[in-house]
Amino acid sequence: MADLPEPLPVQSAAPEAAEASIIGLTLNGVTRVVPLDDPRVTLLDLLRERLGLSGAKKGCDRGQCGACTVLLDGRRVNACLVLAVTLDGAAVETIEGLGGGGALHPLQAAFVEHDALQCGFCTPGQIMSALGLLAEEGNDPDPERIRAGMSGNLCRCGAHPAIVAAIRAVIGAGDRSEMPE
């Protein structure tokens, strides 16, 4: 092959060669500069283990359960399937960024109002996913569309009907009378 390009800078995981890279990201509106000593660190581990934000939960750690859902540049992602080292310049929103001044975000308030949780483990992911759904697809109140749009977030307690009702309430389309018996 002619004209081989210059070797790329490599971030190595080998300790002796460890050359810490530094990423800058906007986390819940605040600029953070984070040193990374290992490219294996996922966004989820960065949040939970290194930045003290334990709202996003580690359920399956392989993109199946949605408990780690956060917004990356405004769109939903599984934080367990994003390498932190790839996020230089990105904007991340987590459940900790919602509400403020002691007030709940309307989605949080609706989840409380509709009993849209039992154990609560999946709830931060559900709420961030719902936030992403409203941002990505607008305020269509069709329950089937909401169910499809929330299909990446599993609730093993079975709160899905109440979750759909809570989202519909935020859209302005639902009320308690539509709750399943």
Binding site: M1, D3, L4, P5, E6, P7, L8, P9, V10, Q11, S12, A13, A14, S21, D38, P39, R40, T42, D61, R62, G63, Q64, G66, T69, L72, R75, R76, V77, N78, L81, V82, L83, V85, T86, S129, G132, L133, E136, G149, S151, G152, N153
Partner: protein, 265 residues
Amino acid sequence: MKAFDYLKPDAVPAAVGALAANPDAKLLAGGMTLLPTMKQRLAEPAALIDLAGIAGLKGITLDGDTLTIGAMTPHAEVAASATVAAAIPALAALAGGIGDPAVRNRGTIGGSLANCDPSADYPAAVLGLGATVITDRREIAADDFFLGLFETALEADELITAVRFPRPLRAGYAKFKSPASRYALVGVFVAETVAGVRVAVTGAAASVFRAPAFEAALAADFTPGAVAGLSVDAADLNADIHAEASYRAHLVTVMAKRAVAAALE
């Protein structure tokens, strides 16, 4: 996950050069399959070459009757694209049914094709529409691209840059999906093009394949009824905890009928 080096080239030649220089490296597109596979230690690449820094690998353009989708374009962008919806609505619908929203926001068409999962959706569209896979060095016709289980015609250091789809007269896709993963137990893509009818089946066998008997029947009569009496040989199909081979064979016929109905809508 085993340790790996991380590289982020900013141009295709640099990525290809890095891949050629690191035979044990893997290209990282959306990572929706590669990262879980690495977490399960089913893949242990020595290096990841991140394609996200390369400008020009992402985007959708329509030139006449040719729709070109950049390899790093995520499924959600294809699903929401007015350009795709106008040119090949069945392709937009297919992209909107892959996995779940978080997966669609990250997963890419190039990654899906290079991985060549037997249950993936995109291979059905690429083969069914007679698309062309464009790489850093050549163009590969869909009929020559899919070789087998997770096996494609790509060389070890070859990189997909885009996929070119000819606009069909009409097309439809139907899949019977796993309720958990949304992967296709069986998916059938049907397209009527100026060059004839093409029927591609995913999920059913080791790799996506065409169904010539279905194509001939639909060429004569493009209706769901034309394929109702046809079937594929179950001996060649997958059998696993989700479905026996005979059930998959049954689903091929049912999904073909539904795909034709969708194309006629």
